[in-house]
């Protein structure tokens, strides 16, 4: 795995780099601004870019725009966007951006939960999705408001499973988190898809996309 880190705070950049190296992830380049990211993407063709949303020069959402632009240059690039805020507007932009690589959007402090963070890094690198639970909570809340949706037909347990699915977790990871068997998770998943009227799709990633498409349908 070849990774580029874009973060303007040296303290955080070094922390993430050290963490990744401890887990045998190759950090091919570090950058501090959008220009740097695009240069690295053109030059090194990395697999994964870990990008801070707020970057120079204006310290607003350059990182997000740069990540989307980098995927246009190099569509297989997987992007993991880190931020101190999650914004529903940004989630929608990221998920609808072009490119074929995986997508992640997480709060920065989640990096401290090393196992979950490395799990997310690997998932996004493998073309999957990793969304912060706050992002998912907002998506679910947004969907919940619209009437005639199936969410209220789900049991509390099924809602939990739905949330974890939307974060991008695999069945195995969901089973571990909820301390249940893999078989139990599969049963919940089948029920959820049935109650929401979603076509049962094969493969974790396509399943996530189906759930996200459903959640985002509220607008």
């Amino acid at each position: 795995m070849r990774v580029v880190i874009v973060e303007d705070h040296a303290l955080l950049r070094e922390g993430i780099v050290a963490l990744l190296r401890e887990h045998d992830v190759e950090v091919v380049a570090q950058a501090e601004d959008p220009e740097g990211l695009l240069r690295v993407v053109r030059g090194h063709r990395p697999d994964l870019a870990i990008v801070d949303v707020r970057l120079p020069p204006t310290f607003t959402d350059e990182g997000l725009r740069a990540a989307i632009a980098a995927r246009e240059i190099h569509p297989p690039l997987a992007v993991l966007v880190l931020s101190q805020y999650v914004e529903p507007v940004y989630t929608a932009e990221l998920l609808s951006s072009g490119g074929t690589g995986g997508i992640g959007y997480m709060l920065k402090e989640r990096v401290g939960d090393v196992r979950a963070f490395m799990d997310a890094v690997h998932r996004v690198h493998a073309g999957g999705t990793a969304l912060d639970r706050e992002v998912v909570a907002e998506l679910v809340r947004g969907r919940d408001e619209s009437d005639d949706c199936g969410l209220d037909r789900l049991t509390p347990r099924e809602r939990e499973v739905l949330g974890l699915m939307a974060e991008g977790r695999t069945n195995a990871a969901i089973a571990e988190t909820l301390v249940v068997t893999g078989g139990a998770v599969e049963k919940h998943v089948t029920n959820i898809f049935q109650k929401l009227g979603l076509p049962v799709s094969q493969g974790d990633h396509r399943r996530v996309l189906a759930v996200l498409a459903y959640l985002q349908a509220s607008g």
């Binding site: 955080l12 507007v89 907002e138 408001e145």
Partner: protein, 351 residues
């Protein structure tokens, strides 16, 4: 003093040339010249055109006087000018009578004119004793202008400072706390490998605490200066608030050029507070947020179909009212029981 009064007062300063008066001068000059030519052609006896000239001049003077009196600030400056106008007209009538009766006697209109002069002088003196209202209005206008300017300057500075505080939090304390959680996380991983369960539990708890502190700082920063507002503007920020709300929200925006940050922030907090209220009190099936901007103002309306009966004097709504009125805006709450609550804020947004 309301904005309307200032507008009226300002009329006095903006004395544009009066085209009607120019026309009248031209007309009078032409007629005067014409009758003089006729008089010369008729043989030049008894200079009768002076009556025509006199009549035309009187009309011109009347025109000027009326204009001068009408375009005055209200009482008592206006009274003084109208009084003076009446006295001048009386003097003209006296002089006209004197001329019509032959103009041969002693100039008797002098005596009434002296009387008029005394009346005008004493009236002027009285008004001046009341500190010359015309000048006082002028002072008030200047003072209002100055206060408006400095207040909006102060609010702009405040908005910038809040944004700066948010930046400082983001780049200072929050970064350090995030770095701390990363280091604690790495320590956790090592303790896990070493199998030191007791220390691991302590470190994990420390990391969870640090994460909670980051969460609290994030909420604090969002309450001070929401980043999405600065990044993407009002429409995106309202959309974001709508998505975060616990009730269904429909957002409609018709916005032009971005207004001043302080106006944007006020509009944002109106929407935010109104949505929070709607979520808290109302079992609304839907809340409608509308943001419309034209050249002069930004109108924010948040309406729900909940049970109504909100207290316009409650602390939240009073805070919003103050915020809006500090920007010379208008704020209204309609909350009939059974009809729903509608909050409307109108913010001037001319730079």
């Amino acid at each position: 003093m309301s904005a309307d009064t200032v507008d009226v007062l300002r009329h006095d300063d903006e004395r544009e040339p009066d085209p009607a008066f120019g026309l009248q001068v031209a007309f009078s000059a032409t007629v005067g010249a014409a009758v003089t030519v006729v008089w010369v052609a008729a043989g030049g006896e008894d200079f009768w055109p002076r009556w025509v000239w006199f009549g035309l001049a009187v009309l011109l003077v009347l025109h000027l006087l009326v204009r001068w009196a009408v375009l005055t600030p209200p009482w008592p400056g206006k009274a003084l000018r109208i009084g003076t106008t009446v006295l001048v007209v009386l003097s003209i009538i006296d002089v006209a009578i004197w001329m019509l009766t032959g103009a041969n006697d002693a100039f008797w209109p002098l005596w009434p004119m002296i009387g008029y002069g005394v009346i005008a002088a004493s009236a002027t003196a009285v008004v001046h004793r009341h500190r010359l209202p015309g000048a006082r209005s002028q002072q008030l206008i200047e003072r209002v202008d100055e206060l408006t300017r400095t207040r909006s300057g102060a609010l702009d500075v405040q908005a910038q400072q809040l944004r700066q505080i948010e930046r400082n939090l983001h780049d200072g304390a929050q970064v350090r706390l995030v770095a701390l959680t990363m280091q604690l996380g790495r320590a956790e991983a090592r303790l896990e490998d070493a199998g030191d369960e007791a220390t691991l539990a302590l470190v994990r708890r420390a990391r969870v605490e640090a994460s909670a502190a980051i969460g609290e700082l994030r909420d604090l920063a969002r309450g001070i200066a929401p980043p999405v507002l600065a990044d993407r503007g009002l429409a995106a920020a309202a959309e974001s608030l709508g998505k975060r709300a616990a009730v269904p929200v429909v957002v409609e925006t018709r916005l032009g050029e971005r207004p001043a940050p302080v106006v944007e922030a006020a509009a944002y907090f109106v929407v935010s507070e109104a949505l929070a209220n709607a979520s808290k009190h109302a079992a609304s099936s839907e809340v409608r947020v509308s943001l419309e901007q034209d050249r002069r103002r930004l109108v924010v309306v948040v309406a729900d179909d909940g049970p109504g009966g909100a207290d316009p004097l409650g602390s939240g709504l009073t805070g919003l009212r103050r915020r809006v009125e500090a920007l010379d805006g208008r704020f209204a709450v309609a909350s009939e029981p059974g009809v729903g609550t509608s909050i409307r804020a109108e913010l001037p947004c001319v730079s």
